[in-house]
């Protein structure tokens, strides 16, 4: 039984901001299915009475003192950027506004 359709893979790829070729969509639709079937087993034991564990070791309240450290050096970080101008990162035109 197919759980993830090709269209669903395309929708998810959009969410994940990854261009996929047509071949990749076909292949992933098939491969993801195998994995999804395999993990469906998890549902067998994940009953409502079992609490979730998000951290292997339970810790709370890890805080930092509010004391500044020097900034990274702007020239060094911009040197590693695909494009820069006037101390800023250059990014392509943004079509959507948040």
């Amino acid at each position: 039984m197919s759980t993830i359709s090709r269209d669903e893979v395309a929708r998810v790829a959009g969410l994940a901001r990854i261009d996929l070729t047509s071949d990749e969509l076909d292949r992933l639709a098939g491969e993801l299915d195998v994995i999804v079937d395999a993990v469906a087993r998890v549902g067998e034991v994940a009953t409502p009475d079992v609490p979730a564990t998000s951290h292997p070791l339970p810790m709370t309240n890890v805080f930092r003192e509010d004391v500044p450290e020097p900034s990274l050096v702007v020239d060094e970080i911009l040197a590693a950027a695909p494009a820069a101008e006037g101390g800023r990162f250059v990014v392509p035109q943004i079509l959507e506004e948040d």
Binding site: D19, L28, A38, A80
Partner: protein, 505 residues
């Protein structure tokens, strides 16, 4: 002493000779650089070799030693670092095209600690892209070959670090382990690998795969060397919120104590679910023999059951892609790394991001990001990520019950010996099964070690996994060192001495 001999020393031996002034760090470092030049064409353990930087550190250590400075025990012993660890000014790619040529502007905490201790960094080792894989075949920069058989995989994701150590290109290496990426390569290359307790080694500056599972640790040829390295890189780091705010247990002491070979009173638990069907006959045979040795050393062998371990793989393949899909979102071509413009249509930020990620990520990375995005997307969270987190709880409970009966647990590290390159590439699930024995430790956060325990029927190395309760990493070293001593006594030499000599260029 010849250069070749220097590369055959353990890190502990080399450190002793450096401290005694018998050899210099420059000599030791150069010997390893020469070895890399000679064999890495065939092994391809390294993505980047920093001869100049390594020698500069070596010269500095030698000068400080000559000046009578008090140096770290491992000062001057060269090391290889997995390319997932951020190194300032040294290319760091995580095996991905998307980071090709990236020069980080900062050091990981591990890197800082290695530099402070004076370990020359030989270079960065190959790995599956973003540590996703069990064979290093998913590197964007070519396969690494197993020094035992160059047609076979060195394990993964840290195949480069394991192969570098197995091929005597470095006495020490850093690995990272999210589901077995230190231990499984250790098993299939006949080397020692340790995944510390989650939070035992800082994750600051490790390019994150799955934040709640990732842990860095030592890759070495001996248990004592791992303990020495673990003590350099481990301990609390305020830059990692999940770092354990306590001192490490005495690991080197535990390794030295274990090397006596006496395990009187130690309870060793055999996990029913981590063995039997699906494990190669030779793997099972070596495991049984090792149990006999442990019993002979005074250990009490008990059988323990961890019934939920059979759900571990499923939980792992939900948690890992979910966290990875978010961790890898930052690779978008805006601030660093690769930027690719779409082949047609307007080059908007949105489309450039998608084109960059489409071109920059390999198949396995795309596969896992898509799965993780799907698992987290609206309506699926509870059934997928949420359920997987519940399985973590069940696995932790299994561990708690097992550790009530045993001081350590043991199992084969991997179900098989190294398979041939390309053999499982088209079967993701078969590939994932490599990690079936190692994954429970990552889900529960407990420490694990793989120790070489012989050769299988095919003449390839096999590893034994030792697991201990969280924060009791010292138990790994005591039992691991004991087993190592007992095995070497029966073999008459380290296992690696039985590896075929590599042709040198």
């Amino acid at each position: 002493m010849s250069a070749t001999d220097l590369t055959r020393l353990t890190a502990a031996d080399l450190a002793g000779r450096l401290a005694a002034g018998e050899v210099s760090s420059v000599e030791a470092t150069q010997a390893h650089l020469d070895r890399i030049a000679a064999v890495d064409g065939a092994v391809h353990a390294f993505l980047h070799v920093d001869a100049e930087g390594a020698l500069a550190t070596a010269r500095d250590v030698d000068a400080r030693r000559a000046a009578g400075e008090d140096l770290h025990a491992l000062a001057g012993v060269p090391i290889a670092v997995k390319d997932i660890v951020v190194t300032r000014g040294l290319p760091t790619t995580a095996g991905s095209r998307i980071l090709e040529g990236w020069l980080p502007p900062y050091d990981a905490t591990i890197t800082t600690r290695l530099r402070e201790a004076g370990l020359p960094i030989l270079g960065k080792t190959n790995m599956d892209e973003f540590a996703m894989g069990s064979s290093t075949e998913h590197s964007a920069f070519g396969n690494t070959h197993n020094p035992w058989d160059l047609d076979r995989i060195p394990g993964g994701s840290g195949g480069g670090s394991a192969a570098a150590v197995a091929a005597y290109e470095a006495p020490l290496a850093i690995g990272t382990d999210t589901g077995g990426s230190i231990r499984q390569p250790g098993a299939v290359t006949g080397t020692v690998g340790v995944k510390p307790t989650y939070g035992g080694v800082s994750r600051y500056g490790l390019i994150a795969l799955a934040s709640s599972l990732d842990q860095a640790g030592p890759v070495t040829r001996t248990v004592l060397d791992s303990a020495l390295l673990h003590e350099v890189i481990g301990g609390h780091d305020p830059r990692d919120s999940t770092s354990i705010p306590e001192p490490l247990p005495a690991l080197v002491d535990a390794a030295r104590r274990g090397a006596s070979g006496d395990l009187t009173g130690v309870r060793v638990g055999v996990v029913t679910e981590l063995g039997g069907e699906g494990y190669q006959a030779g793997v099972r045979a070596r495991f049984e023999e090792s149990l006999e040795l442990l019993r002979g050393a005074g250990a009490e062998i008990v059988e323990v059951s961890c019934p939920h371990f059979t759900y571990a793989l499923g939980a792992y393949y939900l948690i890992l892609p979910s966290e990875a899909s978010s961790n890898l979102a930052k690779f978008d071509g805006m601030r660093f790394g690769l930027r690719v413009e779409p082949t047609d249509g307007p080059a908007t930020a949105e489309r450039v991001m998608a084109a960059t990620r489409g071109a920059g990520f390999g198949d396995e990375v795309k596969r896992r990001i898509i799965l993780g995005t799907y698992a987290l997307s609206a309506g699926y969270y509870d059934a997928y990520y949420g359920s997987a987190q519940k399985v973590r709880t069940l696995i932790q409970r299994d561990f708690a019950a097992a550790f009530a009966q045993a001081d350590v647990l043991v199992s084969p590290t991997a179900p098989t010996t190294a398979f041939r390159l390309g053999e499982k590439l088209d079967d993701p699930l078969a590939m994932y099964l490599n990690d079936v024995a190692t994954i429970p430790a990552n889900l529960a956060g407990v420490p694990g070690m793989s120790v070489p325990n012989g050769l299988s029927d095919d003449g390839l190395p096999v590893g034994l996994q030792i697991l201990a309760p969280a924060k009791a990493d010292d138990r790994l070293y005591r039992v691991g060192a004991a087993l190592e001593t007992l095995l070497e006594k029966t073999w008459g030499a380290p296992l690696l001495s039985r590896a075929p000599e590599l042709e040198t260029a």
